[in-house]
């Protein structure tokens, strides 16, 4: 599909939970996660984000994150990778859910982004 979704969270469980939730609305999307540190503790891991991006089969990636270092690690990866990644400063759960629902029915990026605007919190 055109878009895949990457979830970056400080918590392994949050990342898994968000994936589980949005998969229901978007069963055909590639949704990959980077939750917690290497040993699944609280924190964020550039390596995990790298893997989530590498494993994602979308042509372009819509990325959602929770707190400060998730964002910083995501931005760092964006500087290093050739993949096209769109990062959104929105509420993680609501934003990822909105994007997934729209991407599932092949909505254009403009529509997805217009809907995400209202969820901007960061």
């Amino acid at each position: 599909m055109k878009y895949g979704i990457v979830i970056v969270s400080h918590s392994y469980d949050i990342a898994q939970g968000v994936k589980q939730l949005i998969s229901q609305a978007a069963p055909d999307l590639s949704i990959t996660t980077a939750g917690g540190t290497e040993d699944n503790g609280i924190g964020s891991s550039l390596e995990k984000i790298q893997k989530a991006v590498d494993d994602n089969t979308g042509d372009e990636i819509l990325a959602f994150y929770d707190l400060g270092s998730s964002k910083m690690n995501l931005e760092m990866l964006m500087e290093m990778t050739d993949r096209k990644i769109h990062k959104y400063d929105v509420a993680l759960v609501e934003g990822a859910y909105t994007a997934a629902t729209l991407a599932q029915v092949d909505s254009p990026l403009e529509t997805i982004e217009n809907n995400l605007k209202a969820l901007t919190i960061k």
Partner: protein, 195 residues
């Protein structure tokens, strides 16, 4: 003044030592205005730097700073990972073809911190130490007093960036843990290059 590979390696080795020695101090500072793990996180980074050096001795300055950056990025876990990581990665790129004056080198790192943290001087962050150190180095006035003054000045600020900013006025009077670990970094540098 420029720093060459042997001394730059000593600099980072001393930083690693200080992080290991002061793990508890950094955790305590972070407990007051953060989540209490800055010492543990930085110590994990320090161990990763040592391990990376032991595995492969850095061959040049760019290599040294890059190895330091990746150890921090991969192992620290908290926000200081990408922050220190970006600073050292930018420094590594900057010395790839030619070594830089120390003041310019630290400025490259400071600019990296500003970009990654979307932050600036005076917000009670690491930048409050990095920037004055960079300026003092450029003016050939770098000494312990510069570091101490930067810490004291930052201590009295109200945090407007990072987790401590949630505390608003209550963050005043506390030393920012990232500023303290940055102070260790530059005290290590001072030990290598002298006043």
């Amino acid at each position: 003044m420029k720093i060459e590979l042997i001394n730059a390696k000593k600099w980072i080795d001393l930083f690693v030592e200080k992080l290991e020695t002061n793990k508890v101090v950094l955790n305590e500072l972070d407990t007051a205005i953060g989540d209490g793990d800055h010492g543990t996180n930085m110590n994990r980074g320090a161990e990763a730097i040592s391990a990376a050096f032991a595995k492969k001795e850095p061959e040049n300055l760019a290599d040294l700073y890059k190895t330091t950056a990746f150890a921090m990025i991969q192992k620290v876990g908290g926000a200081s990972g990408p922050l220190y990581g970006t600073a050292f990665l930018d420094m590594s790129k900057a010395v790839k073809t030619d070594n830089l004056e120390l003041g310019d080198l630290i400025k490259v790192g400071t600019d990296g911190l500003k970009r990654r943290g979307e932050s600036d001087y005076g917000m009670k962050t690491m930048i409050d130490v990095w920037q004055p150190v960079s300026e003092a180095l450029s003016e050939d006035k770098f000494n312990q007093q510069v570091i101490t003054d930067a810490l004291v000045k930052s201590k009295e600020l109200v945090a407007t960036k990072g987790r401590a900013s949630y505390l608003e006025e209550k963050s005043k009077g506390h030393i920012d843990p990232g500023s303290q670990s940055s102070a260790y970094l530059f005290e290590s540098l001072l030990e290598v290059i002298g006043d």
